[in-house]
């Protein structure tokens, strides 16, 4: 019985791992193909099935004028928008989360929990519902197709995540910590800045990672609110998809777009194994 269970377990884990890795392997293989090896028949292993070329990767750095795909600028746009929006969301979200975790708010029937829920519930908002008014709004104030406009929109997307993670985190930081600081003569801001914040680094990192993930992977807002001036990475890659399907450069650009966040998986795992995440995500 026990042996059978172990066998089942490892079979399942192996199958799932293959399922997860399969599209990546396929993309890696495809990125080294040329027209012939994509379109004649299905090929898998370089050298054995087809002669690998670096063409798919080379076009990524060529300028569009010379038949390349300019992926460098969208890359930096994506990094800029994601990081700026994450940073603002984390700062504002952490402050608000601290307030919601430490003080009591009362306004009519509204209590702390209701305010927290208001923050988090913004995730329910389907992007499409916001995108139509944002489209008209941003075009009225001239921020359509600009990085700044996207940052504003991404704050709505990311701040709920920051509040969600940080409220739970602050709830587990003992209250005595700030009380001692206050007795020692700090004002509330100093208590927060000098005592609570340094003890919340793990929470901040987790919140930061989640903001970066959900900022980086967003496609829809970037797709609707930008056209030609500013392009974010996902929009650029998807635009490649609609042309005559050069699968090699498509795969190469897809791989290079998802690569940076795969590092985040290692960081998340580290925090998970050290037990820091357990509380932060409950």
């Amino acid at each position: 019985m026990h042996k059978f269970y172990t066998f089942l377990k490892y079979t399942f884990i192996t199958l799932w791992t293959v399922f997860i890795v399969a599209p990546f392997l396929w993309a890696i293989s495809t990125s080294f193909k040329d027209f012939q090896s994509v379109n004649s028949k299905v090929t898998y292993i370089p050298w054995l099935d087809f002669e690998p070329t670096l063409e798919g990767w080379r076009v990524l750095v060529k300028s569009p004028a010379r038949g390349g795909v300019d992926i460098v600028e969208p890359y930096f746009n994506s990094i800029f928008v994601t990081c700026t929006a994450s940073l603002i969301s984390i700062i504002l979200g952490t402050l608000a989360a601290y307030a919601l975790s430490r003080f009591t708010f009362k306004a009519g029937f509204v209590r702390n929990n209701d305010i927290t829920f208001f923050f988090i519930s913004q995730r329910i908002m389907p992007p499409i519902v916001l995108s139509i008014p944002f489209f008209i709004f941003l075009s009225t104030i001239g921020l359509l197709d600009s990085l700044l406009g996207l940052v504003v929109v991404y704050i709505v997307l990311l701040m709920p995540i920051a509040v969600w993670i940080m409220v739970d985190f602050f709830n587990r930081v003992p209250k005595e910590l700030d009380e001692t600081a206050l007795i020692d003569g700090c004002n509330p801001y100093q208590a927060f800045y000098k005592v609570v914040l340094p003890n919340s680094i793990p929470g901040l990192i987790v919140a930061g990672m989640f903001c970066i993930i959900f900022g980086w992977i967003d496609f829809f807002f970037a797709f609707i609110l930008t056209f030609t001036e500013v392009q974010l990475l996902p929009v650029k890659v998807v635009a490649l998809n609609s042309s005559i399907t050069p699968w090699w450069s498509l795969s190469a650009s897809a791989l290079i777009s998802v690569a940076p966040l795969i590092i985040v998986a290692f960081v998340v795992e580290r925090y998970l194994s050290k037990g820091n995440l357990s509380g932060a995500l409950k």
Partner: protein
């Protein structure tokens, strides 16, 4: 503590969020009462005409809504079952534990649309590897993207691939935070693994499970990226979800007024149904 300080902490975030959101929401409601389209791009007032059209004369919206419900409920159930199983398997010591944990997390770090672009080549009906490998063992080519029924399952496969890791992460984090005592007690009583799961692990995990399921349902209710790239709602309208339908009405046909009506109705339905689901789940899974 001084009365003023707490507002200094709370208000910047709260007001930024409200400031960004208040306009779009009021605007959507107002827009939904107008006939704004590409012929008359102006904020006229036509009362509830749009709402009457939606409730009496638009089966396509309701179909897309039921399709969305089917897709999101199915994917979330699959994600929960698989995610829970995976989390249980790498919870305790196994070989290469940390390696598997990283692997299981990777898909959620990748951009859904970009991976879907890869999936589209993966499921390509003549040049993709799936049909080729299946062909080697004698299976006829499957119409992954152009058969109305199979296309739904392709969307489900991609969604499960993409988001099971998130479920896995939340559940594993939950498992790792469980107290040790109940498990010791069960071990002393000599409970079998199965009974241990049913009477100890699962009840302890119930609150976390509910949280994870609700979070995933919220996110799944927005399924759009995958469909957009994989099938563009097709074949026909076979994989069209509500968001995608609103997108077509609003930003392709420029029936802004009507799209706003759809948006607002969709949002209200979403909030009501998610609240009900949360209540029901809590009742089902947490027994006193």
């Amino acid at each position: 503590m001084n009365f003023k300080h707490k507002f200094v902490f709370l208000f910047p975030g709260l007001f930024v969020l409200i400031g960004i959101l208040i306009f779009p929401i009021i605007f959507t409601i107002r827009l939904s009462l107008s006939g704004w389209n590409s012929y008359t791009p102006e904020m006229n007032f036509i009362g509830i005409t749009n709402y009457i059209r939606l409730f009496t004369d638009d089966p396509r919206f309701w179909e897309s809504f039921f399709r969305l419900s089917f897709l999101s409920v199915t994917t979330v159930i699959l994600q929960y079952v698989i995610g829970f199983a995976l989390a249980l398997m790498v919870w305790r010591e196994i070989k290469f534990k940390r390696f598997f944990r990283v692997i299981f997390l990777i898909p959620m770090m990748t951009t859904p649309v970009i991976m879907t672009v890869i999936w589209r080549t993966f499921f390509h009906e003549s040049l993709g590897p799936v049909n080729d490998l299946l062909g080697n063992i004698g299976v006829k080519p499957i119409l992954w993207l152009s058969d109305p029924v199979i296309a739904k399952f392709t969307v489900i496969i991609v969604e499960v691939w993409q988001w099971t890791p998130f479920m896995f992460l939340l559940l594993l984090a939950g498992l790792l935070s469980l107290p040790k005592e109940p498990f010791l007690a069960a071990a002393i009583d000599g409970a079998s693994p199965f009974r241990k799961f049913v009477y100890v692990t699962f009840p302890l995990m119930a609150p976390i499970s509910i949280g994870a399921i609700i979070i995933r349902l919220i996110e799944a209710s927005k399924i759009m990226d995958t469909v957009f790239v994989l099938t563009s709602g097709g074949p026909g309208t076979a994989t069209e979800t509500s968001s995608f339908y609103i997108y077509i009405k609003g930003l392709r046909e420029f029936q802004m007024g009507y799209a706003a009506t759809l948006s607002f109705t969709y949002l209200v339905i979403m909030i009501i149904s998610l609240t009900i689901i949360a209540k029901v789940l809590t009742k089902l899974m947490i027994k006193e």
